[in-house]
Symmetry: D3
Subunit: 309 residues, 6 copies
């Protein structure tokens, strides 16, 4: 069996050789932007939108990829094609792109070769860990609002998908004090709900789907898909400032994120949301989504849990 | 000649082999704390204080080093001893420690081996690049206040020396629009002066040395040394909120940082500070410092510039 | 046995008759200021300081007590003398004063009598519940920083001891999600540590006792006593902004509050502070305090726990 | 004549016996949520919406009413039926519900009986004091912006109708320095207009009715009624941040609140709004509202003033 | 040739005699509100809207113009008629109104005559300096975000066109450090984009024209015209918080301001916006505007540059 | 009698000819910095300190005076010498310096002559209006905290004495709604007390003189004199954040400002401070100050009131 490949700085490498020198600016300064795309039936879904968002992140951070759009698409598809070839049909891949600001010129003098002046560009895949999400997909996630707050846009803009996220790491640790399986839901410095480490939040309020303004969170592509589906299903959608009050009093809540698409949230800070069970609008949205992609998204995940159990 | 060594997760490796797998949380999430110590005459200076600060960073981030204090000191000294052996007498080393939160369990499945559950611990050295600082040491640095602001302590505490610093990268780019050699001096969200990417700021105002409160910046060990020297030289020192106004109207300004100790700042946002030249208090402090460490700090740097020119 | 008495609007009543009509502004609007004093050996301690602080609260809220200083002192002492007469020697009393803005004129029309236009003034006592504090006194308290934040001074000044404290109630509930015995330590809107529901926080850092500025918390009389004791014991004391970082990295931490005087804090957000056990400076301060008041404060509490067990 | 009744903790009591022990948490901590409903022709209006909002307040504060929806509705209607029976036809009732967090366990030991562990639940009525509003209904209210600011949602959410409102008491006192009849209009910490002590603000701007976002004020049921009426009358309605500038330059302004429905505002900080007289859109809205409820709302109030004069 | 006239406090004066005594409050305190209107073919355009906005500024600042609407219109038109009479056909006028709070009573005692107690009212014209804008109209403006921030509405409301604008002067100086031709684009204290010294910003994002909420900037009359034109051209328009990210990633950007109507923005902080050239939507809007006013707006400006070159 | 002279742009003019063209940037943009010095016995007092502060304001705003220190001192003294020559012995002068950013190049084309590219520099005197202060000196000032807030330092630094002060004008108007003689005491955006339009605030608290940090207000030269006198009189002085609470509960309060030196404050927001009368520490400080300058400062003012009555 050929090993999983990783794209790194112009080369396709076996995964076991994919590493960065310790003086890469991604390690030294967290100067990294990233994207994550997933497959359905082993084909990348909405790669264009993900790469466009990557483009906006790069423009904002003034990093230069050094690759054309076509090259980027091609290597992405090539990587997935190769890495998916020995996967089971019920498995799927996540594709990660990341770009760092290059190498730290001063630290690099510990190396024999001169530091690369251009950006570090990497793309790699991973098997979507359905088994980790199976229970949450059925019973819902518990979100907890830690005292650590989201970094304000004037310091680091949440609209770029960046990796300087130690505050997320700290927030998770605080959330897990309440429940080892809890997910941190970060408030901003004014106390508004923003997002979790890896997902956008949406609520159902009296038949309307609401979500915090995309201006203050990552403008999620899965969240955009939910908005699209709302349109198709005739459900109103609205962006609005949300506070803990709204989550506690919502009819339903869910997280949208690329790898699992949509996940119910049934508890916040120990209190049940709605009935405390995944709700009918969640099911309706997930089912509509499944139809679009031709895969039973929830079933695949729950099944994944069963297989690994 | 034996190659430079790097300490990584319990092993001493040749520098060319010191790299992190791309799924290390230092790369994936910027979940990294760090320290930097330097040598004088090839001996580490105030290693204890640096390692204590590292200890506080680890405690705050709940990372576990997995090494005793003695082991940490021993490997640090061993690394320097080895890497300094072929250096010229007028050269010095910087010693970097960094600790990441370990490996990203889900991404790690691209690898053949199971993810390490413990922290990634690394120590490496680099030659202090005196030639880069020589002109600044003689003529002073130009600091520029970018519109990007320092991350507030309630999001990410500046008292831990962390590496989630994409905002510093962005700030530097903004500062360089004004002057390619400028250094970014970050304001906090209230407009108070904090620190540069890599140094604490101190001002001279009517005979008193002042500096922003250590509560809102990295509590610098070089800054602490300046305070110590002020005591010895009978100069009053005071912590106080500072704004751009204070820097523009200071008699002198300087940066304190481990690798170069003390550097004059002679310009802010294009305007001269004081006489526009390094001042007598700067010289007095640097000279007192040089006496303590038995090395002509400024001379070594300026000489370094000459050698490399 | 004569029943416990309560002072209410000019009369001494049996406790069972001490109640407020439901249209009292203390109930309708939380428009209430308060004080709490305790006894040592059944004698009120520092009553003057408590009544002076009550005077400042009343002045700020423009409420008029309608009693002279002498009357207030006299009724306080009379109440304690009466209510302590049948107490055991090892028991002590807390004395609560509270003053509300009077009665809500419109709601009051549900009553037969016209609404009282003057303030409601009440004083009552309660037995200090040593048994509740005994374990904490020996093992230390666990403080947790909830996401609910302290009300800013420009809305409601923390220097008045007021009872509009629903946010404290909410904060406690959040803290107890982490540990049912945890105490909420509120951060202010900038993320600085303020106080708990009922106590000031003090830390020991490298031999110095530090505490958040009295400007942003209740200027505690027990905290003032700690400062006094620091002076006597030759320990430096400093007011300064504190963040979670400081608590996590302190050598010791303790709470100062009238009913129990001083209590060790040994954990914050699940992490041990210092050794994780009450420290020597805590003991030294409590012992000095005990000498001043002629009562073994800690012993009395721990004994109280034993008696009730 | 039978006395007015009050519901308290499961019993119907004569009003003169409706009181809370001084250790109730509503008194000790302001830990109270509340609602107010009114009658038209002695029938409760939109009781459902008020009780639903009460439900959201209870959910947020994690208080448990201990009553079913049906029981709550039944006791509310029973109370009004009883208390309205001897009222004149032109009079109306306000119905207040309030729930406190129960009793303070430690203070309660001054009492003979053990503290109740459940919430305190009370419902009472009061005669709507039309005579107090008659002049304002005809000439308009004077609103004044005090320096005391609204408590931010991250401390205490304005969407719950709570009673920890000492800041409102302070704000009123400041407003009355300008005009003894003035009503305080609170700004938030960013200077945006929020609400008065007891009412939502709405403005008329070039034919559009605008009001501060419901996210930052109590989501008023009377305000919702105005929005409904705007829809019926073909007048656009918009939520938007408002500042003093908007109030000073509005064509009309009015307050919406349960007891008087709608009241004109004709002055802010001493300056006339619009013509300085109640405007035509106010009249149109109040008249449409009157039609819905079958009562001449304004006339009833003005008449009430005449009767009592 | 008769000299240019200026209206000042009830008189028409030759421009060379139009000056204010040094104790005018416009000079002493910056207590001045203002407006600017321009001509097309020597006729004032939308004078009504400008004077209405002036009216709102006066109402907010409680200044009394002492002139009727008709008098104000008449003197404005008379001034333009007189001052335009000797202008070339391709030239146009700007008309400035400004009103100060009158004279400083104490300083005025340096004068022989008693201080005027009423407001200072002035109207004057100036030739629109097309030659200054010609290059920007063709190549676009470079905007730079300085560290100086916009004054918050709770201090000084941006919706009044006032002249206390030293912060704009400071912001411009900072922007010019990056590029001597750059224009300062001020961020507010939360980091949102507001406006430049003299213009509103609009962006094109995926076919929608967006602009910061009028609540936090001067509600520009040229901006309103763009919104009107968007309606006519079937282009969606939306108000929304904008950050630097949005400007950097916009398809097009432009400034709207009375004297030049619309100007392309092609660079922010040194980075190109869109293609780095004025875009098609800009051209379409400017051309639609030109049709409305019967003047080739862009051509006139570019021609103006050629003439003066 | 020769007329009062004014220095303007290099010339000494009769006061009646001292005026600025309407296109001066001091009028157009409020781009003006200023100073005020006073005489004792017709001699300027601490002119040096005032001119140094002017120098710092100019440096911050990057304005160039175009005069040497000696020239500036000379013209100041010459102006006072001339203007004081016909004054009564009991009268004194205020000397105002102001510098604007020059002329607005585009507006200036309404003038015949080319715009001056350099700064506008003016110095003028005025008779100190003792009669205005006499009653306040005897009975104390009433300060009122308006809802308008001080401009934050990150927008416009209060340490420069600038004239873009429309917010002060607005604040005064709000304060006068409470009392036509009240003086506005501005709070900053966090609710801390800053300064009045023209004076620093100082409080007496338990024997210590306290004042808001000079970092957030104009660093007053009269305030500095109070600190000096405190030193001489053995009274402790401390800078600290102050809130309304502190003013309401102070033992004494006073304003320090150049023209009247020191003035008692006896009321805030309608409530008496201390005894409601000027206090003994105020008297002691004023008397010490009088000794230093050889003039009975308070007597002169009170006498001035009597003369003009």
């Amino acid at each position: 069996v050929s090993e999983t490949l990783v794209y790194l700085n112009g080369r396709m490498l076996p995964a076991s050789e994919a590493h960065l020198p310790i003086y890469d600016l991604g390690i030294v300064q967290g100067a990294t932007v990233t994207e994550m795309t997933r497959t359905f039936r082993h084909r990348l879904w909405r790669l264009d939108e993900h790469l466009q968002r990557l483009g906006r992140s790069l423009r904002y951070t003034r990093m230069n990829l050094g690759l054309s759009w076509e090259e980027l698409v091609a290597l992405s598809e090539q990587l997935v094609a190769h890495n998916a070839q020995h996967m089971a049909a019920h498995e799927e891949l996540g594709l990660v792109h990341f770009v760092t600001a290059g190498e730290h010129a001063i630290y690099a003098n510990l190396s024999e070769r001169p530091p690369r002046s251009s950006c570090t560009v990497c793309a790699h895949t991973f098997r979507l860990p359905f088994e980790r999400w199976a229970r949450h997909m059925q019973e819902g996630v518990h979100v907890v609002t830690p005292s650590i707050r989201q970094v304000p846009p004037q310091c680091l803009d949440p609209k770029i998908k960046y990796r300087s996220r130690l505050h997320y790491y700290l927030a998770e640790q605080e959330a897990r004090l309440v429940d080892p399986e809890a997910v941190a839901l970060l408030l901003d410095v004014a106390g508004n709900v923003t997002e979790t480490n890896a997902a956008n939040l949406l609520l159902l309020e009296a038949g309307t789907v609401v979500s915090p303004p995309a201006v203050y969170t990552l403008p999620g592509i899965s969240r955009a898909m939910v908005i699209e589906l709302c349109g198709q299903l005739g459900m109103p959608f609205r962006e609005r400032d949300l506070q803990t009050y709204h989550v506690m009093n919502a009819d339903e809540a869910f997280l949208a994120s690329t790898p699992y698409c949509l996940m119910p949230v049934t508890k916040i800070n120990g209190a049940s949301i709605g009935t405390g069970r995944p709700g009918p609008v969640f099911s309706r949205l997930l089912s509509a989504w499944s139809q679009v992609v031709g895969v039973d998204i929830g079933g695949q995940i729950i099944e994944g849990g069963r297989n690994s159990g």
